[in-house]
């Protein structure tokens, strides 16, 4: 899992990434020294939970991905079946290109999680 996050962090524009449980408990974190793991985990799961509740009411299901764009950076939250991948990127990153790589890593992380929780 750590190796996949290391690979993800080499994607241009990606600042850091982490995997946490659905309830916001960090599992693996490669966020870099400038970012507070606790803070990212707490707020990522808060946003994901709020988005889940809203989407569940609108679409009867949870969103597969939530992309938050802010003026100093972006946060991408990808649902991993029981876990959550959070990726932080620089502001202004071309999200479509980076997102393909992030989705590919998410797929592989999902496979690992499926193997570990039969």
């Amino acid at each position: 899992m750590k190796r996949l996050l290391e690979q993800l962090n080499t994607t241009p524009g990606v600042i850091g990434s982490m995997v946490m449980t659905d309830d916001g408990i960090p599992v693996v974190s490669l966020l870099g020294t400038e970012m507070d793991e606790e803070c990212v985990a707490a707020f990522s799961s808060t946003v994901q939970l709020a988005a889940n509740r809203t989407a569940a009411q609108l679409d009867n299901q949870h969103p597969d991905e939530v992309i938050i764009e802010a003026d100093q950076g972006n946060l991408l939250l990808i649902h991993l079946d029981g876990a959550l991948l959070a990726v932080m990127t620089h502001a202004g990153l071309e999200l479509n290109t980076g997102l393909l790589e992030i989705r590919s890593v998410a797929r592989r992380l999902r496979e690992i999680l499926t193997i570990r929780t039969p």
């Binding site: 309830d23 916001g24 408990i25 400038e34 970012m35 507070d36 606790e38 803070c39 990212v40 985990a41 707490a42 707020f43 990522s44 799961s45 808060t46 946003v47 939970l49 709020a50 988005a51 509740r53 809203t54 989407a55 009411q57 609108l58 679409d59 009867n60 299901q61 949870h62 969103p63 597969d64 991905e65 939530v66 992309i67 938050i68 764009e69 802010a70 003026d71 100093q72 950076g73 972006n74 946060l75 932080m88 502001a91």
Partner: protein, 328 residues
């Protein structure tokens, strides 16, 4: 004599001291813990509790270290973690708590040890991140062992700090039935008489209210209409997270509006606190729909379509001036 009545701080402190003098220091700590919630903020009580908990931790440290070395168990590691946390060794505390979770992920004690540290920080520093983390770990611990007294007391404590007596009462129900004179139950009863019952069961909404000191007031009669294509539902929330306008076909149910309001508040809070600056846009994609939110003039405008193939049209519509047209 009611130790939790308004103005009874000094009486409660004396009662805790008497427990301490009789060697019943755990009972004294439990009383003070409830008192610090009942009379929050209560610096004298916090100080007395801090001193007592530190003394208890110092005295038990050696025994706990021996226990961990001789018969390593998740419960021993969690107890050592709690003692170290009280003595200020935060990295040691976190290390042992994680060791407890690794040793037995289904034992609530490791999660509870971490939660207690966060809860203390939340109470002392009014740190929202600590509060959210305390909630996560307490929820986990409560899920693993429903009816665990310390988990329930800590969760109720957090809810009372968020001024949610109804939610706290629900959490404490098993304890109040079994031990109605439990200090936390008495503190809850006293607080319930003073704090009006909360009108939401959404704990994220409670956190937002606690942090901003305000709550949104949605009124259908003051909600403007946004003309929008039939396949798009649109809602506009102002800076206080109150619904100010929506499209004719948008769901205006209380739960829907509260969910959007919480999402708007959480996004604003999250990007700022994570160092990402001001929220500009959010996109949530599921197999059966897309929700896009755009931040503007202190508020957020959300739009949804249940046809993912229309995401680009939705985005274009939202970014055009049409998303801001209203008729009252």
């Amino acid at each position: 004599m009611d130790l939790f009545a308004a103005g009874a701080e000094s009486r409660l402190l004396q009662a805790a001291n008497r427990f301490g003098d009789r060697g019943q220091r755990l009972a004294a700590a439990r009383l003070l813990r409830a008192g610090t919630i009942r009379f929050h903020p209560w610096p004298d009580g916090e100080l007395a509790l801090d001193q007592l908990e530190r003394t208890l931790a110092r005295e038990s440290l050696h025994t706990l270290q021996l226990a961990v070395e001789s018969r390593y168990s998740a419960a021993d590691a969690a107890r050592l973690s709690s003692a170290l946390e009280r003595l200020g060794d935060l990295s040691g505390a976190l290390g042992w708590a994680h060791a407890a979770i690794e040793e037995d992920p289904c034992n609530p004690e490791g999660y509870l040890a971490i939660a207690r540290g966060y809860l203390r920080r939340f109470r002392r520093d009014k740190d929202a991140v600590a509060g959210l983390q305390a909630l996560r770990y307490l929820t986990k611990a409560c899920q693993l062992h429903t009816g665990h007294g310390d988990c329930l007391r800590s969760l109720a404590m957090l809810l009372l700090l968020l001024r949610a007596p109804s939610a706290a009462a629900k959490v404490l129900r098993p304890i109040s039935r079994a031990t109605p004179s439990d200090p936390m139950v008495l503190a809850l009863e006293a607080l319930s008489a003073e704090i009006p019952a909360e009108d939401t069961s959404n704990v994220q909404e409670l956190f937002l209210r606690w942090e901003t000191g305000t709550s949104p007031i949605h009124r259908k009669e003051t909600t403007a209409v946004i003309p929008a294509p039939a396949e798009f539902s649109v809602w506009e929330l102002d800076g206080s997270r109150t619904l100010s306008a929506c499209s004719a076909c948008a769901d205006q149910g209380q739960e829907m509006i509260e969910n959007l309001s919480v999402l708007a508040g959480s996004l604003t809070q999250a990007t700022t606190r994570m160092g990402l600056g001001q929220i500009a846009r959010v996109t949530a994609r599921s197999a059966d729909g897309v929700l896009i939110g755009l931040a503007e003039a202190g508020g957020v405008i959300f739009s949804h379509t249940d046809r993912p193939s229309l995401e680009s049209s939705l985005s274009r519509w939202l970014e055009s001036d049409r998303g801001r047209e209203r008729s009252r």
